[in-house]
Symmetry: C2
Subunit: 652 residues, 2 copies
């Protein structure tokens, strides 16, 4: 564990100074943040070092034009020429930060619209986790049989004695290699077929896409182009959108990227966004936002991996029902109104271009099936990933995102519910909360001497605190008696030095301020939000368990999903009373199962069929109309619970 204390932070700085021959100061306005960097440093990197995260889709390749900043004097920097700046911008000293080297001290103005609030989100662990799932696909849990595949067909050209028409000749060749009893071909493909097959002497690459039980000839290209077949799996979260780039020929994740959901300006949860869209007739705008987010992620991944967008043939999405509706511009209004229904739970594959998603212009966009308005395809993906639906023993699954969806069941039955937990554990509605990205505190310990030890993602100076850090904080504050069982700060002498009165009431310092970074605190309001979230999740679990007469000891496994960070201490989820008190070895932190499930489906038609079976068989409990939910919620609004007998392990 990397424990940053004052001295260490200084050392960090000193080391940097020592390694540098000649430095210059870069001052960023309007934040006033200053940093010293070696002469010749790239401005974008200097900004990142200062904790300022400029938008950059292309990853610093000078391609996206997003990292525009204004320098005070053009002599202070050296910029590569770029066509992405207008003459007027050049006159005004606008530069691309990624294409600009610092020559001397310089003041840089960052347009407000160009900052990301935090760093890019690190996806390494998810990528690692998926390599195992891809393994499962290969090893036959699901047969490797991607939804969209390319095959090379080597046909005999027609002769007088073999006058089969091109279209039927192609079908025969496809069927020699694949099990495709029902095929479809689009009109445009049919029209170009003769010219294409003639020019390549009937040796062609065919892209085949599954549409239910039908296989569509999506594209026909001359020659053998089978090795270039990519897909993007997307987790459409209310707060974050995550994308993984997959090589469909190798079932391998090549790269990952994430961004905030830019609909966030219209409301933190999707109910507020639906209301906003309804009141302002802004459904198209909300669609544009999420489609742009997805497109930006795809372009970033493709650019970084030097892949032509035409080679991306598939996009597969999992997400909550509202986000999928927004993406496809399906009317989401009735999701928030009784009787709370979706337009479609099983959305047929569509051409990605129809939704505005920029991949191969004939490529397909798939959505995993969902269960109900409040239990989306992300949860189906979670059940698929955790394999709860295949086992005899009863498992519990909880996905803590902006909502807290819980599923209970086994291979014979599945029940589910959604608590409107709120996005506290996603860092939203928490003063220094942030997504699990660089500089986020993801692990935190309060030592007996009152000092605090923590780990940040990327081992950088702390800029905020992510889900797992918040979980740790809440548990540690409770364990160390800094808060009581209602979540109120106590007048504990040990805690006193770190307690202060902030703008929003009492707050507790988790990390002191440091050159270029601010103090990290947790406020009373933050704690109240976190307690509400965990109470919602636990109450939902309780309702499902009571309804199915499942006792805590009946649980074979508990899966906790969500974008908490890489090092989640599942013990703490029991400590605060979010999860039932089962032996720790039964609790598994499974990360982003939404995207993992999407990737599994992408790679195997059988997995899609399994997902459809899961979605169909799950019984949904509406908590708002459930007679005991509010009682359960109130009881769970204590740490860990009013009824301590539910948490016997905590007594010891």
């Amino acid at each position: 564990m990397y424990c940053i204390e004052h001295n260490e932070l200084k050392q960090y700085d000193i080391k940097m100074e020592q390694s540098v021959k000649k430095n210059c100061k870069v001052c960023f306005e309007p934040s006033g943040l200053e940093i010293e960097v070696p002469v010749g440093s790239v401005l974008l990197e200097a900004a990142h070092k200062a904790g300022i995260y400029l938008s950059s889709i292309c990853g610093g390749d000078g391609y996206c034009g997003k990292c525009k900043v204004i320098v005070e004097h053009s002599e202070q920097i050296q910029s590569r020429p770029t066509p992405l700046l207008t003459p007027d911008e050049i006159r005004k000293n606008v530069v691309l930060a990624c294409q600009t080297h610092v020559l001397s001290d310089v003041t840089v103005t960052v347009p407000k619209s160009h900052t990301l609030e935090t760093s890019q989100i690190l996806m390494d662990s998810d990528a690692h986790r998926f390599s195992q799932i891809a393994g499962e696909v290969r090893e036959g849990i699901f047969k490797f049989d991607p939804l969209v595949q390319k095959i090379f067909v080597d046909m005999s050209p027609p002769t007088v004695h073999d006058h089969t028409a091109d279209h039927e000749r192609l079908y025969l060749a496809i069927r020699e290699q694949t099990d495709t009893p029902i095929m479809q071909t689009g009109f445009r493909i049919l029209q170009k077929l003769p010219g294409l097959l003639t020019c390549c002497n009937y040796k062609a690459t065919v892209t085949l896409g599954r549409r239910g039980k039908t296989t569509e000839v999506i594209e026909v290209e001359p020659g053998n182009n089978c090795s270039k077949n990519y897909a993007v799996a997307v987790d459409l979260g209310t707060t974050t959108v995550v994308a993984h780039l997959i090589d469909l020929t190798k079932a391998a994740t090549i790269d990952t990227e994430a961004t905030y959901n830019s609909q966030i300006n219209f409301g933190e949860d999707y109910i507020r966004r639906i209301i906003y869209a309804e009141e302002n007739d802004a459904f198209n705008e909300l669609q544009n936002r999420i489609v742009n987010d997805v497109n930006n992620l795809i372009i970033t991944l493709a650019t970084r991996q030097k892949i032509d967008l035409q080679e991306i043939t598939t996009v597969i999405c999992a997400g909550n029902t509202a986000m999928v509706h927004f993406l496809l511009n399906l009317d989401p209004r009735r999701i928030r109104r009784e009787p709370y229904i979706a337009t479609a739970s099983f959305i047929p594959p569509i051409r990605a271009a129809e939704a505005g998603v920029q991949i191969n212009k004939r490529g397909l966009l798939y959505c995993l099936p969902s269960v109900a308005a409040y239990v989306g395809s992300d949860i189906v993906a979670g059940i698929l990933t955790t394999r709860i639906f295949t086992r005899k023993g009863i498992s519990l699954f909880a996905d803590i995102g902006t909502n807290g969806e819980v599923v209970l069941g086994n291979r014979d039955w599945l029940v589910c519910a959604s608590s409107s937990a709120g996005p506290a554990f996603e860092g939203s509605g928490v003063k220094h909360g942030m997504r699990a990205g660089a500089g986020a505190i993801e692990k935190l310990n309060i030592l007996d001497n009152g000092s605090i030890e923590f780990k940040t993602i990327g081992n950088r100076p702390p800029v905020g605190i992510c889900g797992s850090g918040l979980l740790d904080s809440l548990a540690e504050l409770l364990i160390h008696n800094i808060i009581d069982r209602t979540g109120r700060f106590k007048a504990d002498p040990k805690a006193e030095p770190r307690l202060s009165e902030g703008e929003e009431g009492r707050q507790f310092q988790l990390a002191p301020a440091y050159n270029g970074s601010h103090e990290i605190v947790i406020t009373q309001a933050d704690i109240d939000n976190l307690v509400r979230s965990k109470a919602g999740v636990f109450a939902a679990i309780k309702v499902l368990m009571e309804s199915t007469q499942t006792k805590t000891q009946d649980l074979d496994a508990v899966y906790l999903a969500g974008g908490f960070g890489n090092f989640l201490n599942v013990r703490q989820a029991v400590t605060i009373g979010m999860l039932p008190d089962v032996p720790l070895e039964k609790i598994h932190f499974v990360g982003n199962t939404s995207i993992a499930g999407a990737k599994t489906v992408l790679l195997s038609r059988k997995a899609l069929e399994a997902a459809e079976k899961i979605a169909k068989s799950m019984t949904y409990f509406d908590l708002m109309s459930h007679p005991t939910y509010m009682d359960e919620f109130i009881q769970a609004s204590f740490l860990p619970h009013t009824d301590l007998s539910l948490f016997p392990s905590l007594k010891t």
Copy 2:
């Protein structure tokens, strides 16, 4: 039989004069044709009486603006105001003939582009024939199960306890009524579903279209609109395009219409048109022509029957392979080049709008399957209609259009071939040849005294001679020794008064000139063309029979298809040696089986499956590369044949 002689023609005129109080003369330029009509007559009708067939898509409703003509003085007529004329046209005395009444003698100039060369083609008998086929569909030979159907679904609106999404709710309701295991829904339908279902309280009309084994939800409309579901069946001929309007709810033909194929300017047969298109890069233009022809027919039918184009959900086409390729802008070039192949023999259903065909914007366009480049879906339709493929006995089928396709077989096997017969029996390449339309001589007898008795379609003064009339003429000229067995005119004294030397050599008068109509003759060149056509057909039949060791006496039935006219004397087809010499009762004239087959398929999915089976099982013989075809052709170029033993019945 109506026998027009000079005196009768006069009587015809006198009767007309008697019934009229006050007449005025209408003189049409540039033809110089004149006619007397009662004051107040509609100009369009006057033109038709004078034998001038103006384009008129709307049937005289003043809607299409096609029948524009120029009058000498505006005082001579009275015109209804119309928005279809520009002020400039009004100044130039342009009027719509259908909206103009004649007040006094008037000279009318007909723009050349606005005349049809002959009348509209009468379809009564085909419509009658079809009513029997519809009967067969109803009686269970094929189950009534149209390719596109509308069903009314009365769903329970969602409740908190029944939160099934709209899309799945719709599928459940559809499946209660239909056998549709595999369904698809377009993205646009999905997007509009919630608003639509809410507004009609979940009572809606669903249009379902078959796409292979998949059923597509083509349209969803509020309320019950099931009674309005129409289709148009189209026979895409090289010379003529025929369309029938079908009420899909009643399996009834409502109306029929036909037009010349306006590609005809680019070549009489499709090979010439392909060459033209290739040399002039005019594929789009050729597509536009045929698409416009189809659209004009559809608009004519819809306007006449007061049907909204949106209520036409289906277009089904049968035709030769080249015409279908032109319609869909599929590259037809390799149809004329070795190895003579089509782009597709089995063309998937497409949205009609994709090909530019103007029906419901989400309506489907189906093409019947074809066999080869030279044996199109019209022939498959013929085999379906005649039921050759269901019987144990061997039948022969010959379709005499611009090509002469022949099929031989039974329920176990089918062989086929195509002779490039040329369009002589369609009236093309024959001096006074015309389609089977009003004023066409469709039946002709030479009496022993040398006088000629004939019947015209619609009992009008003769304006030309159609296929059945040409067949009669050739047979009668042979029987009466006016031509010899090589088709040459003989110096027979009986024929002498009617023989003359025309611009194109010797010619024989079939009908004298008459006021407003011209003399009808058959020339030596006409006879040569007709003999070539029949020789091509007979040689093809001979090749198929020899190849399958079928003797004439093995033939259980002979079917002759084509647009010859309503009264075809099948005996004459044997007399000239076009069909094998089988007992007359075995020969059936079956008319336009292309459109009949298209309509059968339209009304029954089982019929489509049967058509697909026929197309797949038919073995194609390429006559051009066949070793004996040319010999057979030469031997068949005599009347009836060099080998008279093949025609024993003719000796008696």
